[in-house]
C-alpha cells in the first residue's frame, strides 16, 4: 500500500469511526436507552 492508500484508508476509517462515536456518545448523553416520554398526540 502506498502513502496515498494509507491516507485514504486512515481518513475514511477515522471519519466513520469518529461520526459513529460522536453519534452514539451524544445518544448516551441524552439518555439513549428508552424512547422519549409519552406520545402527546391523542388517539
Amino acid at each position: 500500500m502506498n502513502t496515498g492508500g494509507m491516507i485514504f484508508m486512515a481518513l475514511s476509517w477515522g471519519l466513520i469511526l469518529f461520526l459513529s462515536a460522536i453519534c452514539f456518545i451524544r445518544m448516551i448523553k441524552t439518555g439513549n436507552s428508552e424512547s422519549t416520554g409519552p406520545d402527546d398526540m391523542p388517539d
Binding site: 485514504f8 476509517w13 451524544r26 441524552t30 439513549n32 424512547s35
Partner: protein, 520 residues
C-alpha cells in the same frame, strides 16, 4: 382511531432496525467491488460527497415524513402523503412506496434463503469439498435448480430453505414492532458486527499465505483496494456509481424508513437517530465490507483475479469466490459458515423491513389486526414468490429487481423530496425535522436539501434512464425464449399495482363512509 399504533420500545431499537434494514448483502459484496473497479481509494471521495449531499438529506427527509405520518395514524406513503395534503392524487402516487418494498420482498427472501442454506452447507463441510471454481459454480447452479448435477438433482433443498427463511421472516413480523423487529435488530445487528469484525481480522492477518508469491500480501491487497487512482475522478460515471451506491446502501427511497419512523413517538428525535443509523451502515460497509472480500481475493488470486472477481457480479463474489477463498484458510468451514451467517443476518434484518410497509398499510388503512395482516400478506407473498423461484433462469427475478430495486427506488425518492419541499413546504418540513431533535441540522443543509439533493436525484434519474432503464425496458440482449417470462414479471408488477391502487381507493372510501371524512 380504533386501535392504537405500536411504538418502538427504545431509541436504540429503531436505530438498529433502520441500520439493519440498510445493511444488506450490498454492503459486503457490492461496495468493495464498486470501489475496486472505480478508482480504489479515490472512489471514497465521490462516495462521501454523495453521502453528505444525497444520502444524509434523504435519510432525514424520510425519517421526518414517517414520524409526521405516524402522528395521524399513517405508516405508509399513501396515508402519509394524504396527511400532508388533501390533494386526491398524492395518495395514489404514494403507492410506489408500498408496492416497491413488496416487489423486492417477493424475490429477496429467496436470495436470503441461499445464505441460510450456504451457512448450513459450510458448517456441515459439504460446501468446502467442492474443489475449484467450476465445481463451485456447479454447486450453485444445482442448488438454484438451474441444472441437475452431482450436487443437487432438484430444487427440493432450496425450497426447504426458502420455506424456513419465509417462516422466520413472518414470525418476526407477527411478533410486531417491539416484540419482533426490534428484538431481531437488537440481537442481530450486534451479532452481525461481531461476525464482521472476526472475518475482517481474519483477512487482515492473512499475511503472505504463499511464500512463492510474495507480492500477494495483505499489505499489497489493502493497497489494491485503497491506493487512489485520481484520474478516475474525472470520469462522470465514477461519481454516479458512487451516488448510486450511497443511494442503495442507505435503503432510502424504498419506503421502509417512512414506515419505521411512523412508529416513533411524536417528540422522538429523528435528526441524531437518522445520522446514527447511517453511520452504523457506513461502518459495516466501508470498514467491514471493504476489509473482507477484495483483500482476501487479492491475497489468494492476485490483482487480475481480484478484478475478475469484482467484475463477476454480486452473487458470484458471495457464493462462488468467497467459499473458494475460505477453502484455503485453516478452519475454513467455520469462516465460511460465519460469512454466510453474516449475510443471512444482513438479509433478514432487511427483509422484515420490506414486509412491514404492507403490514402497516393493512393495519392503518383497513384496521386489520397484526395476525390477520400477517396471514393475508404471508399467503400473497408466498404465492408471488413462486415464479421468482421456478423461473430464475429465465430472468424473472432480475426483472423484479430492476423495477422494485432500482426504478421504484429512484422514482420514489424523487417524489419524497418534492413532497417535502413543495407540498409540505421546506419551512414546515425543516421545523418538523427539528421537533424533538437531539441535535440541529447544520444550517448549510438548508441549501443542500432545497437545491443540491433534488438536482443530484434528477441527474441520477437521468443517468439510470440512459444507462439502464431504456435498454432493459426495450429488452435489449434478452433471449427470445425468456421474453415471455420478462413480460410475465411485468404483468405481475402491473397487476399488483392495479390491485393496490384499488385498495387505496377502497380504503379511503370506506374510511370516509365511516366518518373520517377523507376525500377519495
Amino acid at each position: 382511531m380504533s386501535q392504537e399504533r405500536e411504538k418502538w420500545g427504545s431509541r436504540i431499537g429503531i436505530i438498529l432496525a433502520v441500520a439493519g434494514s440498510a445493511v444488506g448483502l450490498g454492503n459486503f459484496l457490492r461496495f468493495p467491488a464498486k470501489a475496486t473497479l472505480n478508482g480504489g481509494g479515490a472512489f471514497i471521495i465521490p462516495y462521501f460527497v454523495a453521502f453528505l449531499l444525497l444520502g444524509i438529506p434523504l435519510m432525514w427527509i424520510e425519517w421526518t415524513l414517517g414520524r409526521y405520518g405516524g402522528k395521524s395514524g399513517h405508516g405508509t406513503a399513501p396515508g402519509i402523503f394524504d396527511s400532508i395534503s388533501k390533494n386526491r392524487t398524492l395518495k395514489y402516487i404514494g403507492a410506489i412506496g408500498v408496492l416497491g418494498p413488496f416487489i423486492i420482498l417477493v424475490y429477496y427472501m429467496y436470495i436470503e434463503s441461499w445464505t441460510l442454506a450456504y451457512t448450513f452447507y459450510s458448517f456441515s463441510g459439504e460446501l468446502l469439498r467442492t474443489p475449484d471454481q467450476n465445481s463451485m459454480k456447479e454447486f450453485l447452479a444445482g442448488y438454484q435448480g438451474l441444472k441437475s448435477n452431482n450436487y443437487f438433482s432438484n430444487l427440493g433443498p432450496a425450497y426447504i430453505f426458502f420455506i424456513l427463511t419465509f417462516a422466520a421472516n413472518f414470525y418476526f413480523i407477527y411478533k410486531g414492532i417491539q416484540g419482533g423487529i426490534e428484538k431481531l435488530s437488537r440481537w442481530g445487528m450486534p451479532l452481525l458486527v461481531i461476525i464482521g469484525i472476526i472475518l475482517a481480522i481474519r483477512v487482515l492477518t492473512l499475511g503472505t499465505p504463499d511464500s512463492a508469491l510474495p507480492e500477494q500480501s495483505i499489505n499489497n491487497a489493502l493497497g489494491f483496494v485503497w491506493n487512489p487512482d485520481f484520474s478516475q475522478l474525472l470520469n462522470a460515471k465514477v461519481w454516479l456509481e458512487a451516488a448510486g451506491q450511497i443511494f442503495f446502501t442507505l435503503s432510502v427511497g424504498i419506503g421502509v424508513i417512512l414506515t419505521y419512523a411512523s412508529y416513533l413517538r411524536s417528540r422522538d428525535d429523528v435528526v441524531l437517530s437518522g445520522l446514527t443509523s447511517s453511520s452504523l451502515n457506513e461502518f459495516c460497509e466501508v470498514i467491514l465490507g471493504g476489509s473482507i472480500v477484495i483483500p482476501a481475493a487479492f491475497v489468494f488470486f492476485g490483482g487480475a483475479g481480484a478484478i475478475a472477481i469484482a467484475e463477476s457480479g454480486t452473487f458470484n463474489i458471495g457464493f462462488i469466490s468467497m467459499p473458494l477463498i475460505f477453502e484455503k484458510i485453516p478452519f475454513g468451514f467455520v469462516f465460511s459458515g460465519l460469512w454466510f451467517l453474516l449475510l443471512f443476518i444482513a438479509g433478514i434484518t432487511s427483509s422484515v423491513s420490506l414486509i412491514q410497509p404492507m403490514i402497516a398499510f393493512l393495519e392503518d388503512e383497513f384496521k386489520f389486526n397484526r395476525a390477520k395482516s400477517t396471514i393475508i400478506l404471508g399467503i400473497v407473498a408466498f404465492l408471488a414468490s413462486q415464479p421468482a423461484i421456478f423461473f430464475l433462469k429465465n430472468g424473472f427475478l432480475d426483472e423484479l429487481d430492476f423495477w422494485g430495486g432500482t426504478v421504484f427506488l429512484i422514482l420514489f425518492a424523487t417524489v419524497e423530496v418534492f413532497i417535502f419541499l413543495f407540498v409540505m413546504g421546506f419551512k414546515k418540513g425543516w421545523e418538523e425535522m427539528h421537533s424533538g431533535g437531539l441535535m440541529r441540522v447544520p444550517r448549510f443543509y438548508k441549501f443542500i436539501i432545497r437545491y443540491i439533493t433534488p438536482a443530484f436525484l434528477l441527474i441520477l434519474l437521468g443517468f439510470y434512464s440512459y444507462q439502464q432503464f431504456i435498454p432493459v425496458i426495450f429488452l435489449e440482449g434478452v433471449n427470445e425464449a425468456d421474453k415471455p417470462y420478462i413480460w410475465g414479471a411485468r404483468a405481475l408488477i402491473f397487476g399488483f399495482l392495479l390491485i393496490f391502487l384499488f385498495m387505496i381507493y377502497y380504503a379511503w372510501k370506506r374510511n370516509a363512509n365511516n366518518g373520517k371524512g377523507e376525500a377519495v
